[in-house]
Every structure is written in structure tokens, then in C-alpha cells.
Subunit: 309 residues, 2 copies
Amino acid sequence: MEPLELHIIGCGSANPTQRHRPACQVLSTRGKLFMIDCGEGTQVRFAKQGLSMKRVGHIFISHAHGDHCLGLPGLICTMSLLGRTAQLHIHGPQELEAFLQSAIGLFCPNLEFEVLFHAVDTKKHQIIYEDKSIEVWSLPLYHRVPCCGYLFREKPSLPHIRRDMIDMYEIPVSQINNIKAGMDWTLPDGTVVPNENLVTPPTPSRSFAYCSDTTPLPSLVPMIKDVDLLFHEATFDQENEFRAKQTYHSTTLEAAEIAKEAHVGQLCIGHYSSRMRDEEKMLLEACSIFPNTILADEGKTVIITPTTR
Amino acid sequence: MEPLELHIIGCGSANPTQRHRPACQVLSTRGKLFMIDCGEGTQVRFAKQGLSMKRVGHIFISHAHGDHCLGLPGLICTMSLLGRTAQLHIHGPQELEAFLQSAIGLFCPNLEFEVLFHAVDTKKHQIIYEDKSIEVWSLPLYHRVPCCGYLFREKPSLPHIRRDMIDMYEIPVSQINNIKAGMDWTLPDGTVVPNENLVTPPTPSRSFAYCSDTTPLPSLVPMIKDVDLLFHEATFDQENEFRAKQTYHSTTLEAAEIAKEAHVGQLCIGHYSSRMRDEEKMLLEACSIFPNTILADEGKTVIITPTTR
């Protein structure tokens, strides 16, 4: 099974600290890198993690706050310096487009690749991108400005052919796709070999939801039901619940509650406020409600595995 | 004597590496910090060096290339988060203003402090800022886009009063400023005490010139004559002279030649291309023409002292 990995590039919040940097995550699957948010300094930390810019075709921005997108102009300039010719797709709230155009016009007016901006309706839960192996859905969030999360869901794959059976029954190659699609096989003597004898079950699809920044939203629960990994912001610990409310952010307990309700496989929390000094305490708080919680940290890679239920 | 210090925040060039970051330097004098260029990631590295954003009142941008100014929006947002109310002055080529406005409008529309943009005529050598202790001059450079350097020159200070003499001759406080201004003192018996017996020489003024990015420009020499510290870009070593020409940059030898011609006290080179791996070789090259050369490096602080000639 091809690994599906989440690389944490930055998991701080608006006021960057020496410990945590502005938001960026990268989902790696089948040779493609999907970037999610792109705070200032992303390009350097991205390279530090051994990732290649050439493999980034799509960038998904949650909202037009600086700590989620100020790394874009520099990233695009560097892609240009490195001789990129492939299109770059940027998905995000409409507000972002004029800024991007202004930055590109000034800093890299002679780009040799197209930057295509796709406005995302942050109020709708809908497919905004798909290719043959993955779908990306928008997840409406509620923050001080239009904001959405993103749900990455692998498409169901076909069952695996049992090579030994194919050989034994001398099934021609031309029939393999039919077998994968569920067809039984009839032997020359009329015996029917049922399809389940010819295949093994498909690789389970995996899914990842990215939810940052938002007040806790029960309406999210059905949209992210059963995802294997949920990143949910927890800007504050429970002690700072009031501050979280004030700034349209979530606390550890609120993030964990969403994870529990949505019955996700694993929860990763981050987007730590610069006021938070004790992440272990935050982890304990979240684990008290949803035990399979981990802390985001710069340089961390989370392998997303299908949840056994 | 109040120290005059140059802090190197970033000394890489357009393509950032793990070793060097985009351009930024900070000149520290009498409690004030003058920032010069502000590449992506400046705010974090600035804080890492223990510098305080509150002390930054003026930022001088050499040109509108991303590696010299993409740190501005994030820096301004963070200043806002930290509750700044004092005006912030940004000096730089006119091209920069629309981008800054677009970024501020989108990312920090409710700033509680004014950001005042002052367009600098990059073709003129003139005073663009002064206060009671320092003058800042623009230095026309020649790059792919309008570009200028900046010369910081302390104003000449007055001689120091010799307290012992003032007491001995019972000179009233009301006369101190006249004495500082050069007046002799006449005793009741008509004896004239010459001014030089009443004062010690003024603290020598110090100066710093920042020249980045540029093709080597002999026309700079008279403008930066005798400065105590010259930062001159040396993006390439001598082997890459052709590449330097192509990109309107300078080599080690070219930077050192300017330093020698201008008879500066010390030369600091930097703005290293990501292609340069051997900075010691670059240093040796520069020293072969101008021995008092040092290498810029992130985190380095250079104390600027008056040159003994």
C-alpha cells in the first residue's frame, strides 16, 4: 500500500515563536504533494524536510490571514528560480486572489509557469478537486474571516487480483479488468468460480481532514465522520476558553470533543498560541476526551493508516 | 561612546538555503533600530537575536525583489498583534507601495498604528531621513529593477566639556553650550583661557554603507568614501564573474575593489548565491584586494568603530 503521510511544516499561530512557525502541512500520496496553508517561511522549512517543490501541484489555503498564506509569494518566486514550467493551482477564499496577483506582478512578473487560482466557496461542503485516486472536499469553518478546512479522501480502489487463481484457471489478461470489477469466471466445463475466489479485498481508502482556524463547530461532525486522521486546531488550552471564544478559535477539549463525536481514527492538535507554554498539558487535556490524540510539531511526519473499527 | 552595531539577520540571496536566509540587517544606535531590507522570515530571526520590534521606527528597503521585502507584511501583522501604536516608516522604491497597501488591507485592515510609506528616488544620492544624531542617504545602485543602497552617517557631535576646568574657572552652567560651540573663556583678570583647554575632542562620527544588490559601480566610490563599515554584496565568487554580470550582481573581487577605492575602514560581504558553497574561498578572494574584509553570517553582530587613519 502506498503510504499516505502528513508532514507538519508549521503549527504555530499568528504570532510566530522560536518554537512554532506559521501554518503549513503537506499531504504526500503517490508521488504527489498537496500543500495545505503556506505561512511565512514555509519554503525553507519545506526544503529542510527533504520535500521537493516540483511535486507540489496544488496548494489549499484555509483563509486569508497572514500566518496561513504569507509564504506563497516567496514560494512562487523560488519555484520560478528553480525553472518550474508546470502549472500551479492555488485553492482558497476569493479574498486571496488580488493579493496573489499583486505579489506575482511585482516580484515575479515573468513567471514561466501558470498560477491558476481557484476560489473556494467557504460556506459549502463540496468536492473542489479530484484526480483518479483522491477527492478533496471543502469544509466550512467559522472564523473571523471566510475560512474553510479541507478533507482529503482516497477513492475506493478495486480488489486485488489473485495471480495464483488467474494462472490456475488460465484466465486471459483481457478479462482482468472485468474480474476486478466483480465478474465471476466460468470454466470450459461450465463450473462458475465465484469472484471472491479470484480477488482479495481492495486496499482500504484513507482520509484526512484539516480543520483550522475555527470556533468548535458541531456541524463539522457529519462531514468528517470516520476520517482516519483529523487535524483540528487547538490554539488554546482549556484554561483559556474565554480567549478562544473571543478570537474564534478552539480549545483542546473542544477539538477532542469534535474528534470523539466524529469517531475519527486519530486526532492531531496544533496551531498553538504563543501564550501556550505547556503542550504536554494540552495533550493530556485532549486525551481525557479522545485518547488517540497526538501533538503537531514542526518536522513531524504522521503516517495515516486505515482505522480498524 | 554609545555603540553602533550592525546585526546580520539574513545574508543569502533570492533562492534561500538552509544556511543563509533572505536579506535583512539591523543597525542599532542610541536605543533605535534601523532595519534595512526585510526578507521572508525576518520577524522570527530578528526576535531570535534578542531585538525588540518596538525599537524599530524606520525600515529601509533597497528594492522590490521578494528576498528583500517579503517579510514586511508578516512583520507588520505581528507588530499589530503586539499592540503597537507608534508610527512605522517604510522607505523604499515607489513600486513597493501598492503591494504593501494590498497586504495591509487584506491581512491587517484594523491596524492601530500608521504605516507611512516614503518613496525613495533610487537615482539620487540625497538625505532621505535625519534625526538629531544620524543622517541616512540614498545610494543609487544598478540592478534589474530600481534599487538603492543606504548610507548611515552619525552627525558630528560637539566637544566634551572638561568638568575639572569648568569647576576650576567657576564657569557658569549658562555658558556651557557656548564653550561646547568653541568659545574661549575670559577670567576676571582679563586672562583668556583658550577653548581647547576647556574641552576634549568630540566623539568621532561613525558611518555605515549598505550596498545590495548591484553591478559593481565606480560611481559609488565618492559617495561612500571613508565609511567605517561597508556592506557590499558579493553574490558570487570570481569564478562566476559571468553569472554575476548576467544577473546584475557583484563578485568578491569587485566588492573588494570598491572598498579599496573608497578607502573604507572595513568591508563586510554577503548576499551569497545558493550556488556558493565555499565562503572561506570568497573571503580569501576579497582579502587579496582589501584585507580588512569579513563575511556576513546570520546572527553575527559587527561593532562599527571609527576608523583610525
